[in-house]
Homo-oligomer: 249 residues x 2
């Protein structure tokens, strides 16, 4: 049993045609977090039997939209890793036919671990989901979402409960991706603050109320294409500065 | 006369073969600073007569290693600009022969203005010069220097007076540039803390003492080639968070 206030343990139980299997995992990390799969610790196990090639493919796929989609401070650590071990003890084998079920459950476990890391981020008081839509490509969507998720002005605005759509638009505009202001949109939760080149400042008080929550959704549409990406971050607090200014390695 | 505690005014007087000229400038800005020459306000004037093509070339050259080499928070603003106006009132013309003298003085003026912006950065208590040497190319040197200058872990370490060479090496290693740890080096001021793959932790107390200064030099050698770059940044303080969490646009 964990005593971590931000648990980083997760499990999934899955019935496959060949039998039932379990996937379990645990992770650690709270600062120096923007993994590029060199530097954070996470261990995932399963009692399924999985051919090596399939296991590798499943982990890469699951990690891409979970561990590789989180950032606390934009700092890749020097020892990130996710290990996936499969011992076959369930007697059930994962094959091409059951692969998508397996990778879906594996992704759920990885996402739960990754979000645990962000919730427990240094100085963090809020978990922030950044969704970018309307991008020219998946790469550009991810690039814009990461720029927003690492922006100190966005992260301090969230910390201060400020529904500052201008900072979101400004970061999208400087993210070096295709962006069309006249078709762009910004919402905080389900509250639209900017659309078709026009601000809706009358909605700001509602958005400010929403920002008091512990889990926040920010969405930016780049107004260009159909691609999207989702990343997770936390707010930037004075406590983050205190922790890292006082901490001596 | 300025009443700004961090003056952003500068002037240079220059004797050219054809006569004496003056270059003067002023700037504003303290947050949302990592200009990509779209977004900050700076005006530079000269009484020299300068042909349009030469004036354009001189400004681009001067800006590259001054305004485009500073960062407060990695946030490009939406209205950065540097304007250079030449009215010829001195009666002296700048030509190809005197160009390098002119661009040198212009660069001095721009550097002084740019450093004024960083000194007055939101929440800043220290001006930090980051020099990267031993890079494979000038672009890679600049990229690594910018990564270091925008690293929250480096900026909080400087704020806390922590001679943390590990954070400098870690950022260099994740900056996506050629880097050779066994030939890399880190110094703070003139104090070497890491060289040829070996830390010199006995020098840490001296470096900690040095970090109490208001103007700090950080140097990282990537151990690969001959190219170098210099950028300027400030420390990251709890005050930066307070200013930007409380500020409502």
């Amino acid at each position: 049993m964990t005593t971590d206030p931000f648990p980083k343990e997760a499990a999934a139980h899955l019935s496959l045609p060949g039998g039932a299997i379990t996937i379990g995992g645990m992770a650690k990390g709270s600062g120096m977090i923007e993994p590029m799969m060199a530097t954070m610790l996470s261990f995932v196990t399963t009692d399924a039997a999985v051919p090596r090639g399939l296991l590798d493919r499943a982990l890469r796929e699951a990690v891409n939209d979970t561990f590789n989609a989180i950032t606390v401070d934009g700092e890749c650590s020097t020892n990130d890793c996710v290990m996936l071990l499969a011992n076959g003890a369930s007697g059930t084998t994962v094959d091409e036919a059951s692969y998508s079920l397996f990778v879906g459950a594996l992704t759920d476990v990885c996402r739960e671990l990754a979000l645990g890391i962000v919730r427990g981020g240094e100085g963090a008081t809020k978990l922030v989901t950044v969704t970018v839509t309307g991008a020219a490509s998946a790469e550009e969507a991810r690039k814009a979402a990461k720029a927003i998720a690492n922006s100190p002005l966005v992260k301090t605005a969230v910390h201060g409960g400020d529904p500052n759509w201008g900072r979101l638009i400004a970061v999208a505009g400087r993210a070096n991706v295709a962006f069309e202001l006249s078709r762009a949109a910004v919402s905080i939760g389900s509250i639209v603050l900017f659309r078709d080149g026009k601000p809706y400042d009358e909605a700001a008080p509602l958005a400010a109320e929403y920002l008091k929550r512990a889990e926040i959704e920010l969405a930016v549409d780049l107004g260009v294409g159909q691609a999207s990406s989702r990343v997770w971050t936390c707010d930037l607090s004075a406590e983050y500065v205190r922790i890292n200014a006082d901490y001596r390695t």
